[in-house]
């Protein structure tokens, strides 16, 4: 009787899973495999094409533009991830303490996440191009008197600012929920031992929220590596092709340009890299995790 019930349960779970697996396979795995196959062709995205073997992959490693886009994307992702996590952790600590209008403030800090990337991008584009230079000129600050998006050396900073501004919202929420899992008695025990301030954070709070830290690191690293909206709205890859991210290049040349095959190869390499980075991050942070 009991075993029959268990079987019934198993079957129900199977019934729930199978359609999802089928859908996932059709809309995720199948396109991935097709893309992988296209990466061995000179397919333009339409019409006839030929098999070119590994040429796309060998080209990929010799292509200066692709190389530059990888450098830019990783630089951006690294700086973005660090900044986002530091700032959102500080914000979360503040918003988790006993302050007035806490819920209202949390709501306000979450708004950037609700707005679309393109909308934010266009607003910031206006600010960078017109507002900040005008203020800079009034105050006579040389560094601010021209648009930072117009110079190849500083444009990426503009994208980092916008990217972080938006990413911090989600990360803060995750950190707040993490901080709420830390039981009060741990702090009480700590205070008996005289732990306060930085030490309290370093030895009590942080080890206990490491699972949330690792989630945030993986999520924001992945999101920053896939940066696209902000570039579309802020710089379109310019100036001097200095802000072409990998996703932007794949879209631009694979879809609008006629490099579907070549960019499929690029996308596949990028996919493998993201998986590798995520796995690496998970294993490193998992080792540091503390259990109560």
């Amino acid at each position: 009787m009991k075993s029959k019930g268990a079987q019934e349960r198993k079957r129900t779970f199977l019934l729930i899973t199978i359609p999802v697996v089928v859908l996932f396979f059709c809309f995720n795995t199948l396109p991935l495999i097709r893309g992988f196959l296209y990466s061995f062709t000179n397919f333009k995205g339409y019409g006839s094409y030929e098999w070119v073997g590994l040429r796309n992959y060998t080209d990929l490693f010799g292509d200066a533009r692709v190389g530059k886009s990888y450098l830019f994307t990783f630089k951006y992702a690294l700086v973005g991830t660090i900044l986002t996590n530091v700032i959102s952790l500080i914000l979360a600590l503040g918003l988790n303490s006993k302050i007035r209008a806490k819920s209202a403030l949390r709501g306000v800090y979450f708004i950037p996440n609700v707005l679309g990337g393109l909308v934010i991008g266009y607003i910031f584009s206006f600010i960078f191009t017109y507002v900040i230079p005008a203020v800079g000129q009034k105050l006579g600050i040389g560094a601010l008197s021209s648009s930072i998006l117009a110079s190849a050396g500083t444009a990426w900073i503009g994208i980092v600012i916008v990217g972080c501004w938006q990413a911090i919202a989600m990360n803060t929420i995750i950190y707040i929920s993490g901080l709420q899992t830390v039981p009060e008695d741990v702090y009480e025990a700590g205070s008996l031992d005289g732990v306060t301030g930085w030490k309290k954070f370093k030895y009590l709070t942080f080890p206990l929220i490491i699972p949330f830290f690792s989630t945030n690191m993986v999520l924001s690293m992945k999101n920053f590596l896939m940066v696209f909206d902000q570039i579309m709205a802020l710089t379109k890859g310019g100036p001097s092709q200095s802000t072409e991210s990998i996703s932007y290049l794949i879209y631009q040349n694979g879809m609008s340009g006629g490099q579907f095959g070549f960019q499929s190869a690029n996308a596949f390499v990028f996919f493998v890299m993201i998986v590798a980075i995520s796995v690496f991050q998970m294993t490193v942070t998992n080792k540091k995790e503390e259990q109560l």
């Binding site: 089928v22 339409y46 019409g47 648009s147 040349n253 340009g257």
Partner: protein, 440 residues
């Protein structure tokens, strides 16, 4: 047993749903048994004109239903549809590299039996022919509208100061100096949108470089390093007359600035006029041909096929209906509808009322002194526009050489398959002209 059947049912249902999703729409006839002709055209700014034409057509034809789509970013939409093998009947695209690629992929139908072709001006048919990578038999497109690029100027500012249209490059520089002395910004650029870097580039190319230079390079008989040196020099020299930091401003910003009279001239195409007028409807705009050469006779108007109709391959069964639609679009009255809405040059012969902002170019249009945009031959993934932007921002001493060298190497890399194909073709057909399309 029962649950098994349920599982099978669920699977079948999801499979059926998938089939519906994947099959797309393949219906050729509408509900009331009319033949449906679907056009996708790539100029979203002309959506109003085409909506009016669509309505007019459907009101006067009982057996054909015309659908005109004018999406934003139509080229991406078209390519995505092509991947799914979902083809519209007629595509309205520009005479650029995309057309060459579609043609090269055997996606277009030979329409040399379409009678309307005889009414089209020669130079535009030639533009289309020059876009063929390797010479093709037959005709694959009917040019509809052309645009003209050069220098737009603020007629009121010019009249106020008594400035005249320059005919040579030196006169143009002198004019810029004079405008600067009068305390007015001569030029305004929106180089943040990289494609606008190509506007002066193209306008200068037609004056100082061979119009079939790309074919020459593909055939191995010329290099860009030589042909584009003067073009690159002149393009950069314009920066001294432009606002500071031109890459900080977008196309919209530049159009707005020109519309508000912040600059006397704007090196761009006639296609920018609707945008400019949307900011300032009363602006008195005229245009002139960019004088890239110091020999006034060498200067040509930069005019290319802005919108041309091609029929997709495999639509033979609907040919009659498709030609009826094309006939309708080419009726003088309907062309005028488009002209009144957009600032364009009709490709059809005949007496049309040209927009007043083309006054300064009229002589060139009437005497057929025109040449196509060079960037119509550039592969879009090579991003020549971004390369030009990079070059314009490069302050180092050897910027010009770096840029030209890069142009040649990247060209060879991005066109590898094409160059191989072209050279193979000429090896097999040694008697054909190895310079590509012939120019008048």
């Amino acid at each position: 047993m029962r649950t098994h059947r349920k599982a099978a049912g669920l699977l079948a249902m999801s499979a059926a749903a998938m089939a519906v999703l994947l099959s797309g729409c393949g219906t050729e006839k509408s509900a009331d048994n009319k033949t449906v002709v679907e056009i996708v055209q790539y100029k979203p700014e002309a959506v109003k004109a085409f909506e009016a034409l669509e309505e007019k057509f459907n009101a006067t034809h009982d057996d054909i239903e015309l659908k005109i789509d004018s999406p934003n970013d139509a080229m991406t939409i078209l390519k995505t549809r092509f991947i799914r093998e979902d083809y519209p009947d007629i595509i309205g695209i520009g005479g650029d590299i995309n057309y060459s690629n579609f043609l090269d992929s055997d996606m277009l139908m030979d329409i040399s039996d379409y009678e309307g072709l005889s009414d089209i001006k020669e130079s535009y048919l030639r533009n289309a022919e020059e876009l063929e990578f390797i010479p093709m038999d037959g005709v694959y497109t009917v040019p509809y509208m052309a645009n003209a690029a050069g220098v737009l100027y603020n007629r009121d500012i010019f009249e106020e100061h008594g400035w005249t249209i320059p005919e040579t490059l030196d006169e143009f520089y002198a004019l810029c100096e004079e405008i600067q002395k009068a305390g007015i910004q001569p030029l305004y650029f929106g180089y943040k949108d990289t494609w606008t870097c190509l506007a002066p580039w193209n306008a200068i190319c037609v004056d100082v470089a061979d119009s079939d230079i790309c074919s020459q390079v593909n055939a191995g008989s010329a290099t860009f390093a030589e042909a584009y040196r003067p073009v690159a020099e002149i393009t950069k020299s314009l920066l001294q007359y432009a606002q500071e930091d031109p890459v900080a401003y977008s196309y919209n910003d530049a159009c707005t600035a020109f519309a508000r009279g912040e600059s006397a001239m704007y090196v761009i195409g006639s296609y920018a006029v609707p945008q400019i007028r949307s900011v300032n409807p009363d602006l008195n705009i005229d245009s002139f041909v960019f004088p890239g050469s110091n020999n006034a006779d060498e200067n040509l108007l930069n005019s290319g096929n802005d919108l041309q109709w091609s029929v997709m391959a495999g639509k033979e069964d609907k040919k009659e209906a498709i030609y009826t639609v094309l006939d309708f679009l080419f009726e003088d009255e309907n062309i005028q509808t488009y002209l009144d809405d957009q600032s364009a040059v009709p490709c059809k012969k005949g007496d049309f009322e040209l927009p007043s902002m083309l006054d300064g170019m009229k002589e060139y249009i009437e005497n057929d002194r025109m040449a196509d945009y060079q960037d119509h031959h550039y592969p879009s993934e090579m991003s020549v526009d971004a390369m030009i932007q990079t070059y314009l921002l490069d302050d180092s001493e050897n910027a010009l050489d770096t840029f030209l060298e890069r142009f040649d190497t990247e060209w060879a890399r991005y066109n590898r398959d094409l160059i191989a194909k072209v050279r193979k073709y000429y090896e097999e057909h040694p008697d054909s002209n190895s310079e590509g399309g012939e120019n008048a």
